[in-house]
Every structure is written in structure tokens, then in C-alpha cells.
């Protein structure tokens, strides 16, 4: 009896050991059947049926065209909460998605593969805007990733509320004074209608303050020798905060609820209770698909002020532990999927066939290209296949090229956390001391740059 119990216990331990070993073995795909197996993330979730279908079709088409490469798609995008754990445990995909705020720190921490020597063989890489390519550079001539999409921030507005408030929706605000005046008129409609809203929580306040600084012709950080220092405690920073403070407290055109983040503002816009906010064009499909908005209700203008705007976006980097064969295969996939002008028309047709929006200055064809034949061809095809009211977004398209395009500052998330505070103070405290806020934030940001390692 005792013996059989012992045997059972040992058997259990044995089974557990085998299971553990099997799990460990199954977790690391290697090269099989002469094929290079690469794992990639960025596969849309099943809840986004159309995007998922497009992605899966692309994987199948790519594998057919490249029989020596086996793609293992993984759902999801960049998640800072799990990134390091995946890297440490060897579970990080060979090709992984990043926002443009991330590459600098990933490069500094050696968490991405150096792909410089592979880039000459990546077709059309040189047609990407240099400032986007530079986001993936260490500044010393080495490159660690490929930009695949970008956005340029503008002013998203509600055409219906503009009309109700007696404003011309075809002539959106061009200056910050125009924005202020329009916001006042929209807020005067009552019924909790907000003229202009801005973020101030979870680093998104800092992100938008940065956009304000660029719009004022300023900056957030400038290079100082080998390091960086803050550059917002000046007249431009004061001007930006003064506008916000006046709209919030003098005009009462920003509503009473603050500490907002992107979803809050999108919900307000989708519900038809918000007149304007700073946004990239990719917000429009979100308003329609997730917040029950209507394409005809929205218009997009270039960033007010005529000075500059913020450029952000996304790209892919490669696992620092990936073999040269995997890096090569990964870059082949990225080139085929994202940097391939020959596929623009095919992509557009799939969107049109599925009644998806075409004609917005966003996906399915992104704005990463520098001026030249690729960009021209893309614009022609978009115009020819448009399914949304393109004229609503023409003020954005017309104005954006005249603006200075600024990428996000280094150590962006840490800097944004500090600048959140500045936005919060201005939007929640009538007596906010703008000079003190800027001086305090300057000290904190300079400390961040001094400690950057």
C-alpha cells in the first residue's frame, strides 16, 4: 500500500517534470524544415475583424511569396508592462512593435538589434522621411528599427457643432485666437457642451503640452553637448499655458471636468458634446467605430499657429537575441508589408471592397514617405479611391506641409510625466502660477536628462 502511494507520488512528479520540459521546449520556435521561423507581433485582436482579416491575409500572401520564411504572428502591440518580462524570459517576438517614444530608451538599454548592415538591402528605406528614420538611430550612425506609420497632429473639430454655433465648418481656426473664439461660441451652446478639451493625465498631458510648444514654434528639449536640457520655460511655454488657462477659467469653454485622457475626450467628441481637440487623423476612425460617431460630422485642420506640429507614430524593432537569418527575414517582412509602394493599390481596393474609410490622411497607407514619386503615387491613389468626405480633411492636408515637423523629445515618457503636472495645474487651479510651474518643471526635466543613462 505504502509502496503504491510512493509510486503514485513519483509518477506525479515525473508527469509534472515532463510537462514542464514540454512547455519549455515548445516555447522557443527555431528554424524548421529549412525555413526561417520568425515571430512577429502587431496582429490585431479578433474583435477588430476587418484589420485582423487583412493582417492574416498579408501573412498568408507573404509566406506564399517567400517560401523560406515561416511567420508566427502574435496578437498585440507594445505593452511596457510585459516587455521586459518577455525579453528576460526569451518570449519577446523576433520582430516587435514600438511607439516612436520608445526606441531611444530601448537602444540605450541594448534591447534592440543593430540592423545597420542590413538596411542597404531594404527597398524604399531611403524614401522614408529622414526624421522618422532617425528616431531609430543612436545618433552615431547605427540603426535599430524601421518606422512603419506616423501621424502629424492637427485640430480635430466637430462640423455639426461649428454650424450650430454659427461658425463656418469649412473655415476652421487657423490661429490660437481663432481657437479661443470658436471654443467660446461652442461652449455657449450650453447643455454641457465643451468648446475645447485637452488631456492632463497619464503622461498624455505632457504629450499635448509638447504639441502646444511645437505649435508655438518652440521646443521641449534641446541638445546640449552630449546630453539634453529642457527648453520650455520661456515665452512660448508661457503663451501656450496662458491660452489654456484663459480658455479654462476666463472663457469657461473647456468644461468643468479635467484630468482627461484620450478616451474621455474621444467619448465627448463621439457623443457630440465637444467642439475641438488636438489630434492626429487616426482619431477619426476611432470616433466612428468605437464611439458611434459619423464621418460627415468631423473636420480636420492643421495645427493652429502656422509654426510647427508634433510627429509621432510607430515602427518595428528586432529582438537583440535574433540570429542574422531571423533579422534578415524580419526585415523582408517589414519591407513587404509596410514599405512596399507596389501594394498600395491592392490595399486600398481591399478597404474599398469592405466599405472601410479611404481618403483619410491615415491607414491603410501611411504618411511615412518623403516628398517624391512614392508619396505622389500614394496621394493619387488615395484621392481616386476615397470613400470618406475628403474635403472635410483638406484644411489639414493643405496646412500640414507648411509646418515644422517635430518628433517627440528624448526620455519622452518621463518628461511627459513632469509636464502632466503643468497641464493639470493650469486646468484645475484658477490661481496657477505659470512662471513657477514652468520653473519647477524645468528643474525636474533637467534632472531627468542629467540622470539619463
Amino acid at each position: 500500500m505504502t509502496f503504491s502511494r510512493t509510486t503514485r507520488t513519483l509518477a506525479l512528479i515525473g508527469v509534472a517534470a515532463v510537462c514542464l520540459a514540454a512547455t519549455a521546449c515548445g516555447s522557443s520556435p527555431g528554424d524548421a524544415n529549412g525555413k526561417v521561423v520568425i515571430s512577429i507581433n502587431g496582429q490585431p485582436p479578433k474583435s477588430q475583424a476587418f484589420d485582423r482579416k487583412i493582417f492574416d491575409q498579408d501573412v498568408a500572401a507573404f509566406e506564399k511569396a517567400h517560401p523560406t520564411i515561416d511567420i508566427q504572428p502574435h496578437e498585440g502591440f507594445m505593452d511596457p508592462k510585459t516587455f521586459n518580462a518577455k525579453l528576460a524570459s526569451g518570449k519577446l517576438e523576433d520582430v516587435f512593435y514600438v511607439y516612436l517614444t520608445d526606441p531611444a530608451q530601448l537602444i540605450a538599454r541594448h534591447q534592440a538589434a543593430d540592423i545597420t548592415s542590413y538596411l542597404p538591402s531594404v527597398a524604399h528605406y531611403q524614401d522614408i522621411q529622414p526624421q522618422l528614420r532617425d528616431v531609430f538611430s543612436d545618433g552615431k550612425g547605427k540603426y535599430y528599427g524601421v518606422p512603419t506609420a506616423n501621424y502629424t497632429m492637427g485640430l480635430l473639430y466637430n462640423r455639426t457643432l461649428f454650424t450650430k454655433a454659427g461658425l463656418d465648418p469649412n473655415k476652421p481656426p487657423k490661429t490660437w485666437d481663432d481657437v479661443r473664439a470658436a471654443a467660446k461660441k461652442i461652449a455657449a451652446l450650453g447643455n454641457n457642451t465643451v468648446g475645447y478639451a485637452d488631456y492632463s493625465k497619464n503622461n498624455q498631458g505632457g504629450w499635448h503640452f509638447t504639441a502646444w510648444m511645437y505649435a508655438m514654434g518652440g521646443d521641449v528639449a534641446v541638445r546640449s553637448g552630449d546630453t539634453w536640457k529642457s527648453d520650455f520655460n520661456n515665452d512660448k511655454g508661457r503663451a501656450a499655458l496662458t491660452y489654456l488657462h484663459q480658455m479654462r477659467w476666463d472663457d469657461n469653454s473647456m468644461g468643468s471636468r479635467q484630468l482627461l485622457q484620450i478616451e474621455d475626450v474621444q467619448r465627448m467628441m463621439g457623443a457630440g458634446q465637444l467642439g475641438m481637440y488636438l489630434a492626429a487623423p487616426d482619431n477619426v476612425p476611432v470616433l466612428v467605430n468605437q464611439f458611434k460617431g459619423n464621418y460627415a460630422d468631423y473636420g480636420l485642420a492643421a495645427m493652429p499657429g502656422g509654426q510647427g506640429t508634433l510627429v509621432g507614430g510607430e515602427g518595428y524593432m528586432l529582438n537583440p537575441k535574433a540570429t542574422p537569418a531571423k533579422i534578415k527575414a524580419g526585415l523582408t517582412w517589414l519591407q513587404w508589408k509596410f514599405l512596399n509602394p507596389d501594394r498600395i493599390e491592392t490595399n486600398l481596393r481591399r478597404y474599398v471592397a469592405d466599405k472601410q474609410p479611404v481618403g483619410l490622411p491615415v491607414s491603410p497607407v501611411t504618411d511615412i514617405w518623403t516628398a517624391g514619386p512614392v508619396r505622389d503615387r500614394q496621394e493619387q491613389l488615395k484621392k481616386a479611391n476615397a470613400t470618406v468626405p475628403v474635403r472635410n480633411y483638406q484644411p489639414y492636408v493643405d496646412g500640414v506641409t507648411a509646418l515644422k515637423q517635430n518628433v517627440e523629445p528624448p526620455n519622452a515618457q518621463q518628461v511627459y510625466a513632469v509636464l502632466d503636472n503643468v497641464m493639470q495645474a493650469v486646468l484645475t487651479n484658477r490661481d496657477a502660477d505659470i512662471n513657477k510651474l514652468l520653473a519647477d518643471a524645468q528643474a525636474k526635466v533637467d534632472a531627468i536628462y542629467a540622470q539619463a543613462r
Binding site: T2, S200, S256, Q424
Partner: protein, 312 residues
Amino acid sequence: MTLLSRRAAEQIVTESPPVRQNGRLRRLVTDNLTAYGFLCAALVVFAVFSWYPIVRGVLLSFQQVDFVNAPAWVGLDNFAKLVKDPLFLVAWRNTLYFTVLALVLGFAVPFATAVVLNELRHLRAYFRLLVYLPVMLPPVVAALLWKWLYDPGPGPFNSVLRIFGLPQPAWLDSTSTAMISLVLVSTWANMGSATLIYLAALQTIRGDLYEAAELDGAGLWQRLRHVTIPQTRFVLLILLLLQIVATMQVFTEPYILTGGGPEDSTVTVLLLLYRYAFVYNDFGTASALSLLLFLVLAAFSGLYLRLTRSES
């Protein structure tokens, strides 16, 4: 047993052959093998999922890691970086402020509720369920619900205050009210469990003590003061300590409702720790901060252990 016979028995034991002792040991081991197996499994699980992460966390606080290269020892650099962070003291101050407020409310309200529930003659189970209901709500859902309640514009709280012409606070949007608003959410969400524990303690008090007090002419307050509180003193103390440990780890409410704002007035230690780990990806400094928090909480836990031991 006589002295002689006891000596004889001892002699038998001491002179019994070693083979028999070994056999008993073997039987002891084989009879309990399954129990040891389960014990080992539990130990392995604890070691892998509890103790190893704690040890690793302590090591990390003295390291700089990129999870690609071997960790680099940086001594006390991470702690020095923390101390230089202007938010470090702010976070501790806010955490202590939250803890004090949460204890004042979170300690008194559940106890008072338990006393009232204990006094009920009818519908006690129904009200008990009602009090416990918020605990069953996922914390994120509860926080989002309160976000709506607090909305200074069309939110229900201010709408009611507006009807009566009362001042309408900015709730989460003001440095003076944000923390108190978070404490209200936390108290509402967690009071169910504490109330049930207090209620259980109250129900262990012997009825004859109350009867005697009533015969002596004691009113409700006197019964509370001379019978209820002394009889539940130990439970009250233990819950107080456990609440200190729990409230010092507040994260969900500030993360969802305020993001640490306005003007850093609700940045707590755990929120700062989260930022270091998952926003700045600086796991070394995050671990250093968690070690400091661990030491503070360990002091309270030590106190808890001491109290429970002395009571037993």
C-alpha cells in the same frame, strides 16, 4: 508507575537495538511520504513564486538591468536616484496622508456599521449582503463608477448639491479634495470585508455581559464603551494593523481616477513605483523603492506578529 519500573522502562528503550529505531524512522517517513510530497510541492511553489521574486527584487534594487546583458551592480545608485527625485518625498507624504484618512474613515465606518448590523433584529442577512456587495465589484469597475459620480459637470453628486444650492466641489480635480475623494472610493469598496470581520467579533461577545450591563442601567453608548470595545479590542487592533499595511499599498484608485494628479497631489508610493517600472522601464530604481516600502510594511507586520503572539 513506581521509580523502579520507570527505570526499567527507560533501560528497555535505551537498550533497544538500533535496527528497530531505524525501522520506526523508515515507517515514519514512508507512512507520511504523500504528506511530505504535498509539503515539498507547496514549498517549491512558494520558493518559485514568492520567495525567489522577493530575493530577486532585493538584488535588483542594487543593480541596473537591461534583460539582455548581465545585470550590472550599481551599489546604492538606485536609492540615490530615488532620493533625488522630487516626487519621492511627495509620494511618501501622500501615501501617509491617504493611510491616515483611510484609517479614520475605513476603521470607524465599518465598525459603526457592524455595531448597527449587530443590533438589528430583522433583515440582518439582507443588510449584511448589501454592505458586502461593493467588495464583489471589480476594483476597476468601482473606480470608473465613482469617476462618473464625481464628474463635476453632469455627475450625480454635484447634480444633487446643485438642486439644494450647495457648493459643488471639484472632487478629483482639486488638490484639496482629490485625496479625500480617493479615500471615499477606497472606504466604500473595502468596508464590506472589515464590517463582516467586526460583526463576527461582535457576535462572539457573550449575551450575559450585555444583560448584566442593561440591568445596571447601561445605555447604548455605555454598552459600547464598557462591553463591546473591550471585548473586541484584539480584533480591532489586528484589523487596524492590517489596514495600515493594505492602505499603504494604494494603487488602483489614484491610477484610474487621477493618474497621480492634480499637481502630484495623489501620487502614492506604489504609483511612483509603477511609473519607474513600467513607464520608465527602470526596474532597478523601482525595486529600490519597493524594498523601502517593504521595510516599512515589514515593521508593521512585525508589530502584528508580536501582538498576535502576545495575545495567544
